[in-house]
């Protein structure tokens, strides 16, 4: 297996080929965040990117989730080249297919927990009541029904993370992307997150995460190591 090339035994649900991401190209502070990354992610799998800070994990999962475009290379999801998508198409794709849980959660401070969960539903043809019902259902599933009307500032780190998780799941996406999902929470909450991820995987969702966490590494179907923007399979040579 070549350096930066990681093919899975699963069906090629997501296929990246020769991905580069360069920030501020041609400038003094140019940063090459990803170097010629090629990988395949199977449908319904749990794929984890592991590596030190600044290795390019967040950048890579952002590109897989159509949050940004690569500087070079192609990303195909179910055979569709997402790098060729227009801005509108990428937004639509994210709304329908991708759920994100950010490392810093990125909850909107002035929105209550349920309103944060329902943010992705606002531009859809759903009434306020329907939005609230869906959000409360998810919060209930995540054990937060009693915190639905609280602002993020009134919630613990673990609770905030569950709100972010509920928000990621509100549109029933088939791809769930989590950036360092266990970095800001206590051990007990980590366990519940692991359990939830297990349930979601069982439901057939494709889970992509980045993490330092050893426990999470053990739960993943496939783990890739990222170092200085280059991708290595577990145990691969630097």
């Amino acid at each position: 297996m070549m350096r930066g090339d990681a093919r899975s035994g699963h069906d090629a649900f997501i296929h990246c080929e020769g991905i580069w991401k360069i920030f501020s190209p041609g400038k003094l502070h140019e940063v090459c965040a990803l170097v010629d990354v090629t990988l395949t992610v199977g449908k319904g799998s749990f794929t984890l990117f592991h590596g030190p800070s600044g290795s390019g994990k967040t950048t890579l999962i952002g590109l897989l989730g159509t949050m940004d475009r690569p500087s070079r290379g192609r990303i195909h999801i179910e055979g569709r080249d997402t790098t060729a998508f227009s801005d509108v198409a990428r937004c639509r794709f994210r709304r329908r297919r991708v759920g994100f849980v950010f490392q810093a959660f990125h909850l909107i401070e002035k929105f209550s927990a349920w309103e944060n969960v329902a943010v992705p539903l606002v531009p859809l043809d759903l009434t306020h009541r329907e939005r609230r019902r869906k959000a409360l259902e998810l919060l209930d599933r995540l054990g937060l029904s009693d915190r639905a009307d609280h602002l993020p500032g009134e919630l613990s780190g673990g609770e905030q993370q569950r709100v972010a998780m509920a928000r990621a799941l509100i549109n029933n996406p088939d791809i769930l992307i989590l950036d360092e999902p266990t970095s800001n929470i206590d051990a007990e909450t980590v366990a519940s997150v692991m359990e939830l991820l297990g349930e979601l995987k069982a439901e057939g969702k494709t889970i992509i995460a980045s993490s330092h966490d050893r426990d999470l590494v053990q739960s993943a179907d496939r783990v890739f190591e990222l170092r200085r923007g280059s991708l290595f399979p577990p145990g691969g040579a630097p």
Binding site: F100, F102, H106, K110, V119, D125
Partner: protein
Amino acid sequence: MRHLNLFYTAADNILRHKLRSLVVLLCLVAILFPFLSALAVLEGIRQQSRISVEEGADLYVTMDMYGRNGMIPAGIAGEIEKIDGVEEAFPRVISRITIEGKLAVLLGLPMDEMPSSLKFIQGNRPQPDEVVVGRGLAKNLGLKIGDNLSIGVRIYAVIDHVPYLQKKVYRISGIFDSASSIWTSDLVLVNLEDAIATYEMEDFVTDIVVYVKPGRTGFVAEEIRRMNAYFRIQTKEMAGRYVTEGFNARGGVFTILYTVAFALSVPAILVLSGFGLSARTREIGIFKALGWQSREVLEMVFFENILLALIGALSAFLLSFIWIKMFNAPFIARVFIAEIGSFAPFDVPVRFLPLPFLLAFVLALVLTLAGSIYPTWKAATVPPVEAMR
């Protein structure tokens, strides 16, 4: 439904970001309040002036004296009345006087030509050596029925280069009101004979008032001109035009000043709208990351601006209404009414029309959009990860 959802979210955002909304609204009110108040006062005065012109005579005849309006013999009225098409012609005296240091207008009319529209609040029509005063003047000077009013008009001697004025004293017989608050404010009405005697200009008056049968104004004016080449004639149309031009000039000056103030306010609003911009940019990044399209973000921000503009315009209108109706438009009326102080001594005429309100709303919308659309568009078109940073 999705547009409605965005609208409600926009409304919620205004409430959620209370401080930012309040700052923008205060700024809008500060800009729109003088605009709405001034236009309401201007329209009120314009309307009253039009009424005054419409209710006035068809022709006013004076003599040309050194290229200005000069005195005319009172007897000319009888000659003019003989012209075919003239319904009525009578002499009058109209002049500026000073009462206790305040400027007023003295109007002398024949007893039987006192306007029927005069509504006496107190007292009766003036008899010889009596005057009636407008409600505004009475209120301003604390005058009441039976008081003596001295009007200084004539220099009767100069001793050691000091002029001595002769003051004629009149008894106040009534206080009147009329449809026009400006007209009643500083008017002193006397019999024609008293007015002539006051100025000691026997047989001369300031002008002849002529009422003409419908459609005969041009002919009558021509006939009067033929009587004497030195007669100066002012028609109702001319009076109307002077009023319009006068108000347009004042309105124009105000508009120029306001435009300058408005132009200065744009950068201020831009700065104020940027209040909390980094938090806003992050929010927009989150919306985009969660699948919102740029146009949906822009639509929500547009709704926010519409609501802010509407609330701003309504608040400015309400404040303007209170300022004018309850406090009688201090500091604003003087822009349009000559020689009144910051506090008008009469009820400032006012007319609120829908067009200025609509204009105020558009101005507010332009201001808020100018301050928010570009930063929003910029935040909505960069990759969400960048906006959220």
